[in-house]
């Protein structure tokens, strides 16, 4: 039996008996897609709104109905003083408040132009920005009802928006492929680095080093099983996306698997690198989280658009394998992109993989320090 196949067989035998590992590989992808998928939702819906109606006219009541009818807001409170508005916002019972001044209805009827006050809880930055835009558009639509017919066609340029790839602008359709990418990165880095450092800790690595097993065989034998593990992971995560959220890649699933292996190549390299740095499993976790996972989560475009980052930080994102993979996954999931478009992401991903893997192999010693 060849040395390499002995080692791979041993990995699977250990794997079969290790309940914790099985849980990580089988339960983690499903749970994470499920929980993060529901959590990673930035849609603005049913925002609690306080309406301070100082006017009490039929127009002011119509306005409140228009807010509710938009689907974005719920009237959660009807305060009767400025102090009460303040309290609703600070207590969090309402995230946005509309103050209708006295004489609002009369002014509308009299062809005047009354004003409205919108108060937004800025501590919830996302809701505030989106909610304010929605509220303003509701108010605009409302005021157009009272505008003379001539005014409605007075605008020379009319923008007609049509949204492609994600017509309902559901943030979940955008976030879940991101969670999918994140999951693959986190689990493969952790499992690889732990698998090698565990042997360091238990002393079995020393026992392996003293056999004629070659360095290349040792590394290949430790990494190869995780290629299979990552394929299982992708299957489970894809199934979870489809089952829980009805999100299915628009593009080729085969292409998704192939390009995912390109990411896994680089993350296994990172896992190997961590295992050459860490002496204990705890250290390996710390190194993985602080030096690789956190930066990749923030700088991959998973949450924050890379285009918004200052130039030096943006330059840094080019080093993140996840940056390229994030575009690949979203492209295949949402747009059905093919290899022709994704090639531009694939080659840097592979280049980083080759660099990390060769650097780690060079660092990996078949001797003790």
């Amino acid at each position: 039996m060849s040395r390499l196949s002995s080692l791979v067989q041993k990995e699977f035998q250990e794997f079969r008996r290790d309940k914790k590992m099985r849980a990580i590989v089988v339960v983690a992808p499903i749970m994470q897609i499920l929980v993060l998928g529901y959590a990673a939702n930035m849609d603005v819906k049913d925002v609690p709104m306080a309406v301070y109606d100082q006017d009490h006219s039929s127009e002011s009541r119509d306005l409140a109905r228009a807010f509710v009818a938009s689907g974005s807001f719920l009237v959660a409170a009807a305060p009767e003083s400025a102090e009460a508005v303040d309290q609703e916002l600070s207590s969090g019972r309402a995230e946005i408040a509309v103050v209708v001044p006295p004489g609002f209805g009369a002014a509308l009827r009299g062809r005047g132009s009354p004003s409205l006050q919108l108060l937004v809880d800025g501590s919830r930055a996302n809701t505030a920005a989106v909610g304010m835009a929605y509220a303003a558009s509701v108010a605009n639509d409302f005021s157009l009802r009272f505008a003379p017919g001539s005014l409605r066609i007075a605008l020379p340029v009319e923008a007609r928006t049509r949204i492609w790839y994600n017509p309902e602008l559901k943030s979940r359709a955008f976030m879940i492929p991101g969670v999918f990418a994140l999951l693959l990165m986190v689990i493969t880095i952790i499992l690889t680095s732990l698998a090698i450092v565990k042997e360091k800790e238990s002393g079995t690595l020393e026992q392996l080093i003293v056999t004629p097993l070659r360095k290349a065989e040792l590394i290949a034998g430790k990494l190869a099983p995780f290629v299979l593990v990552s394929l299982i992971l992708i299957c489970l995560a894809l199934a979870a996306c489809a089952l829980f959220f009805g999100i299915v890649p628009r593009g080729s699933i085969l292409l998704l698997f192939v390009l995912s292996l390109a990411l896994v190549f680089s993350t296994l390299g990172i896992g190997l690198l961590v295992s050459t740095l860490a002496k204990t499993q705890q250290q390996a976790m710390m190194f993985s989280i602080f030096f690789f996972m956190f930066p990749m989560m923030i700088l991959s475009g998973f949450v924050f658009p890379i285009a918004n980052m200052p130039a030096p930080i943006r330059a840094f994102t080019y080093l993140m394998p996840l940056r390229y993979y994030m575009i690949i996954v979203r492209g295949i999931f949402l747009k059905g992109s093919g290899i022709g478009l994704l090639w531009k992401q694939l080659w840097p991903l592979l280049a980083i993989g080759v660099a990390v893997v060769s650097f780690s192999i060079a660092r990996f010693r078949k001797q003790l320090e």
Binding site: S2, S6, L7, Q9, Q13, E206, P212, Q367, L368
Partner: protein
């Protein structure tokens, strides 16, 4: 030819010198003991000989192969069992054996016969399906030994193989070591159990990275204790040491549990003479003597003497 030849071997870690220029030779087919306290440099020395650590300077060859020039060549001809149990606890006995057989590229045809041979040797036949992690300590150590023996190595290195194992299991382990040596392999074993050192053909004592004594157990005793050695049971033994040391005919007195060991100067070989000398010395100082018995010096006596001499900067 010597199975192991070491010449001025040094290992430095930064400014710390773990092994400080040791030299020794081990003839083929013998059992060689490397002794010393924790931190004396035994494990570092053994790791250099196995090609696990690069020597800082000096030369060493194992089974005729230079360890610095061809560490991988050394690895093919040796078996190594490290201080800690370092097999896969989640694998069964037979899975561990098959795994290591695979690493030594033993052909599939031969694996089962080799596994059977080794299982019989280490007395684990019938336990093939047990998980290694669930075996009692002594069994684990024998399994580790078995895995190191699968490829019939020319030289076997055992680093504190019996640490933390009960005396009966230790005895059993040494029986296996003898069998291995009888079949022609050379065994280098480190231990800090000095009673075990008595089983070795040659022992070497390391202290602070250097070799401070070398020889057969019997030879070392004769060399260091040419006179008689007596075990004395008396009252206030700690104070009695001073009284004995004051007597010129008694070279050295030291405390062993509640008793004293007294080493007499050479020439007082006659049984009655020696006992009378000690009784008289103690009686003169006012100590009540319960018994005086002539005993053979143990290796422990030898090493206490050697290390205290080397601490005083005396002859090495």
């Amino acid at each position: 030819m010597d199975a192991i030849a070491v010449e001025g071997l040094v290992k430095r870690f930064g400014t710390f010198v773990a092994v400080d220029g040791i030299s020794f030779a081990v003839p083929e087919g013998s059992v060689f003991g490397l002794l010393g306290a924790n931190g004396a440099g035994k494990s570092t020395a053994i790791r250099m000989l196995c090609g696990l650590l690069e020597p800082s300077s000096g030369r060493a060859s194992v089974a005729g192969i230079d360890v610095a020039a061809d560490p991988e060549g050394v690895k093919r001809s040796i078996g190594y069992m490290s201080q800690r149990f370092s097999l896969y606890e989640d694998l069964t006995v037979i899975e561990n054996i098959r795994f290591f057989a695979g690493l030594y590229a033993i052909s599939r045809r031969k694996v089962e016969t080799e596994a059977e041979r080794v299982l019989a040797l280490i007395g684990l036949a019938g336990r093939e399906g047990s998980l290694a992690g669930e075996l009692p300590g002594g069994f684990k150590q024998r399994l580790a030994l078995g895995c190191a023996l699968l490829h019939a190595p020319k030289v076997l290195f055992l680093d504190e193989p019996t640490a933390g194992v009960d005396p009966l299991a230790r005895r059993r382990f040494w029986d296996i070591i003898y069998e291995v040596a009888d079949s022609g392999s050379t065994v280098l074993v480190t231990t800090h159990y000095l009673d075990e050192a008595e089983y070795c053909a040659t022992v070497t004592l390391m202290h602070a990275g250097r070799i401070v004594a070398k020889g057969s157990p019997a030879g070392l005793k004769a060399e260091r204790f040419p006179g008689a050695m007596l075990e004395v049971d008396c009252d206030r033994p700690a104070e009695a040491i001073a009284a004995l040391a004051a007597d010129g005919r008694i070279e050295e007195a030291s405390l062993f549990g509640s008793r004293l060991h007294a080493a007499l100067a050479p020439g007082l070989g006659d049984r009655e003479d020696a006992e009378e000398t000690v009784r008289a010395a103690l009686a003169a100082a006012g100590f009540a003597v319960r018994s005086v018995e002539r005993i053979p010096p143990s290796l422990e006596d030898v090493f206490i003497r050697v290390i205290s001499e080397s601490a005083k900067g005396g002859p090495l």
